[in-house]
Symmetry: C2
DNA sequence: CCAGAATAGTTGCATATACAAGTATCCGAT
DNA sequence: ATCGGATACTTGTATATGCAACTATTCTGG
């Protein structure tokens, strides 16, 4: 088996390559829609994750679990959101190790402003996939794959 | 609609969030298997893309198209592979703008050494997804989605 | 032929990502 | 009560990613 054949064996089936590639392409679509706001798709995801916790605020660890993201990465990404004025990072008085993240008023405003842009990107991507049912199906497949791989690898 | 509701509206359906998350999780599985070689999954993807061109070498632009990756990103990622001694970046004598990338002997050796590690990760991921047919299906869905979004957004 | 447009890469800058190692805090067994 | 391990996050370091602006080269219309 020469290098050419090895390369084709890998490229033909590699899920990692494809998962990353589709993430790049999809991300570009959302980033483009959000660009006028100076917000990246990743940051909107992060802010949604924070706001989804409601008034109690979101503990960092829980956010890391939901996003399946490394705590170190999250720590840094959060700092950017904080520096932009969209979130504040406090402490849990019950457990001083835990950081509780909340959106600021400015952050909530930005979230509202981002909604129609996000909807636009989402709509266009879903349409390109063939419509709502195809979009929902892909959504579910992403979720299923995430869960399956997480379970198998103890992530 | 308050921030909490906006956040849930976005999180409930966002394909960008899910595409990135599944890419993170899957990438970890492959990175872990490749770690003993000091190679990352992204780098193996890159090297496979180079070797897949055969003896003629791969023009950078074509590699960027295949990987759906920004030319600037590719330029830098390639330099790391080159610095590691796994590839050389030459010029196309027919068009001096074009860079032609080839694996070195060392690069081909590394590709061979990586194959069983990649197979192991691929096998475990596919198994976690429910077997070969589920793996192939997900592969196809990643490809279809990549093509669809690329076509819709002129990437 | 030649000037301007198009193409291929590179560089500057910024964010996203992760592992390893470090710090602070908490919890549990003795 | 305390000491040792577990937990939650941060910091150091390195790669991955992309946009904007730049350089070098090629192509194209006149």
């Amino acid at each position: 088996m020469n290098a050419f054949e090895v390369a084709h064996a890998i490229r033909a089936d590699c899920l990692c390559f494809r998962a990353r590639r589709v993430a790049r392409v999809i991300t570009r679509a959302y980033d483009e829609a959000l660009r006028p706001l100076g917000l990246q798709a990743t940051q909107l995801t992060l802010m949604s994750g924070i706001a989804a916790a409601g008034d109690g605020g979101q503990p960092m660890g829980r956010l890391a679990d939901i996003l399946a993201i490394d705590a170190a990465t999250l720590s840094r990404n959060l700092k950017l959101i904080e520096k932009a004025g969209f979130a504040e990072i406090g402490r849990d008085p019950r457990d001083k190790r835990v950081r509780i993240v909340r959106l600021t008023g400015e952050g909530e405003l930005m979230l509202h402003q981002a909604l129609p842009r996000w909807q636009q990107a989402q709509r266009e991507v879903v349409r390109s996939l063939g419509g709502d049912s195809a979009g929902a199906a892909l959504c579910g497949q992403f979720d299923d794959a995430t869960r399956a791989v997480q379970a198998a690898f103890d992530f």
